[in-house]
Symmetry: C2
Subunit: 213 residues, 2 copies
């Protein structure tokens, strides 16, 4: 069989994709606020799932606060190696930032085993120690326990989240953990319901980075 | 606000999630063939998107062929660092396999620039050179151009895919590239339509690995 793909130059693929996403949003009668649109559209670009046009919740000034933090060189902390891999670390480095994930660290595994908690929760505790009061953007795409621990540590003043990207995916405690963030004073972008993922978390970080590129 | 998550032991979260997924499949009247169910359910676990109960297409014996290849220590080739990060490399290593991704290699970027193609397509060409005829499992979660090049190289005999996991996501050439694989003689697991992703690609590899663990 002959390969019959549309001839699109590599650099045009993304622009074309975004146009198609905009067309489908228009067809569905969905109008996105201009400040939020790049984030929502990049998540749809990453998932081909238009549910995200409806389920992403933004606290007031969430995008502005995230942009300001990244512009100032904030660290991005993820809860999975997959989200870490998905973050555009070159774009982040141009702003003076770096992406960190502590999930695979042996001391995190040991601490989780000792405390009977998850590695994800322990990884956020390690982030608090490593950051030592510096503000950071947290991109949580997998573990509700990471999001809950983040909430607790922020309440205690042990963490200063400049923005919480709260998009864990799943069936156990996911909705509840997101609800904690939605009802908190923390600046946040949250995917309501069960959906989300490491890819969604990374896409939101990248959407902000590309606004600054 | 008090954190009120359900008390679930870390090791129980996944089992509980899978039970909830099964309940929702039952409620939707969806019965999965036993051999395919672990793959489909892990993809839903990764995305919370029940569309995958309907859109994953398996060629005859696809699961068996994938399992046999992984059991024999086959290499897993991904088209993104994110899928590479998501594959359980410890489980893979126990079987004697490794996961490779050539997307970030400087020679791949150079080759793509010279050929006016994508890095993704060039990364599959490099995979063919590196594998040198050894069979491999290809997990393509992002780039339709990777999938199309994979098809061409397999047709030419330059690649021996033991299984093609064809789940790129997106809006340009994605459906067409998947159609190539669906209509081919290559053993495949394909997500019909626009949906998919690096997370889905990794989840399918892991679902197979966990059958062997």
């Amino acid at each position: 069989m002959k390969v019959q793909l549309e001839r699109v130059l590599p650099q045009e693929i993304e622009q074309r994709s975004m146009e198609l996403i905009q067309q489908e949003l228009d067809a569905r009668g969905i109008t996105l606020p201009p400040q939020l649109a790049p984030v929502v559209k990049r998540v749809i670009h990453t998932t081909a799932d238009f549910d995200y046009a409806r389920n992403l919740a933004f606290s007031p000034q969430a995008v502005e606060l995230g942009l300001a933090a990244l512009k100032a060189g904030a660290t991005v902390v993820t809860d999975t190696q997959m989200a870490h891999a998905g973050v555009n670390k070159r774009a982040l480095a141009r702003l003076g930032g770096e992406a960190l994930c502590f999930m695979s660290d042996p001391d995190v595994a040991a601490q989780a085993a000792q405390a009977g908690s998850t590695r994800a929760a322990a990884s956020i505790e390690k982030a608090a120690r490593v950051l030592g009061g510096r503000p950071a953007v947290f991109a949580i795409g997998n573990a509700p326990t990471a999001l809950a621990r983040l909430y607790e540590l922020a309440e205690e003043g042990a963490l200063q989240p400049a923005l919480v990207i709260g998009v864990p995916v799943g069936f156990v405690n996911v909705v509840e953990a997101k609800e904690l963030i939605l009802q908190s004073r923390l600046p946040h972008i949250v995917a309501r319901g069960r959906k989300g993922g490491s890819n969604v978390a990374a896409a939101i970080v990248n959407a902000l980075l590309y606004r600054l590129g």
